[in-house]
Symmetry: C2
Subunit: 215 residues, 2 copies
DNA sequence: TCTCCTTGTTATCGATCGATAACACAGTAT
DNA sequence: ATACTGTGTTATCGATCGATAACAAGGAGA
């Protein structure tokens, strides 16, 4: 078999640390789950992409389902590492704006997370319940609190917190998650920083007209 | 096996017309493809839901792939049967507004179409290319023409046609497509007409502030 | 009634799936 | 050097997949 990074013909005398294997499997799983959904993704393809063998998935993650949850956990932890809180900054408006910009940057760099979420969002399932209860619910509540605080301070467009959430995910993040389709339509061009920033400005123009184009 | 509508214990002496079978298969396929995606959908479950046998799918549609395309064609034809054109009505603004309201009503009644589209949108595939070239491209062009005409007449929000498309699909239709997830978040309540109309008003408030709450 | 075409029904094929057993090997401690 | 533990590797299991062959049955026209 072909291992991703190990020395090829020499026979790979040394062994990768376990955490490297699990990390490579998580990265590979993110792409495969994002591309084909849970049912459509194949553990053999995931292992191949990670330069590992298929049974190693069960060894390190016990099951395909657990691998999926670990993948979602991993992607959310990556996001949390870059997202500021809603309570920082000189004003509630500046704090909310900072979160928005940071969220959009992450969504552009890691479209796999929003893809995985949207692929699960259309049908009830234990996975969807876990996803909402574990990750989406607390983040939705945080956005709601941040938005109501912002609105109380006189900032933000005339939208409810739920509508802000839907604009954020449906207009903001979906722009990157659905890039393959939007690209075929000629909407989404190259994946550079300018493309990402331009869409972020349009999102801000809808949610926070006063803040658009300020950064 | 259990047939959907035929008389049960009597043994179904009569045979369903062929077009009824294909129609039932299309309706069943729409739900299954929308719930599990192309790869995750099973022809056996589709047949069972339609009260038919699995080989009948290949008989009437030759392959799973052709069934998928026929399902998309069918859903789009249902939509076209209710959508007015962009050139009717007393003004370009009234025409665009009528299209928006009609589109939202269809998306609420047939969330399967937007679900199928979104499930294909995240990864390149021959199906996605066919979907864009056959159905999305002409509709996107029509929306673009309608919007630029509306903007030229001084109506509509300060958004490009591409952004209008993304708001329409990502904020408007996705509200119904992702209803299972939004319901778990407490955003999407019952599926009644009032829920649909309320969201339509919020969409109009974003795209056409002057027209919001007018109908 | 007999014929013929369409469609329903059953059985089954090869491929692929996730999971596990059995074994080989690497690395460390003794 | 030996033993032990953790991990890679191979082989394979039962289940399910889409597709097809073979046959039965319905239904219209003669």
């Amino acid at each position: 078999m072909t291992r991703a990074t190990a020395t090829e013909s020499a026979g790979a005398r040394t062994r990768r640390p376990s955490e490297h294997v699990t990390r490579d499997l998580l990265d590979a799983a993110a792409v495969e789950f994002a591309d084909h959904g849970f049912a459509g993704a194949s553990t053999r393809r995931i292992a191949e992409r990670a330069g590992a063998h298929q049974p190693q998935i069960n060894y390190h993650f016990t099951s395909k389902e657990q691998l999926w949850r670990a993948t979602v956990d991993h992607l959310f932890s990556l996001m949390d590492a870059t997202l500021p809180g809603f309570d920082g900054g000189p004003s509630p408006e500046a704090a909310f704006e900072a979160v928005l910009r940071s969220f959009m940057r992450f969504s552009a760099e890691h479209p796999e997370l929003d893809r995985i979420i949207n692929l699960e969002a259309t049908a009830p399932s234990p996975r969807l319940e876990w996803l909402v209860a574990t990750h989406l619910r607390p983040r939705f509540d945080a956005v709601s609190d941040g938005w109501t605080g912002l609105r109380a301070a006189g900032g933000g467009a005339d939208l409810t917190a739920a509508e802000v959430w839907e604009v954020l995910t449906g207009f903001g993040a979906l722009h990157f998650a659905n890039a393959p389709m939007l690209s075929l339509l000629g909407i989404h061009g190259e994946n550079g920083r300018s493309e990402s920033d331009a869409h972020t400005e349009r999102l801000l123009a809808i949610l926070m007209p006063a803040a658009a184009g300020r950064a």
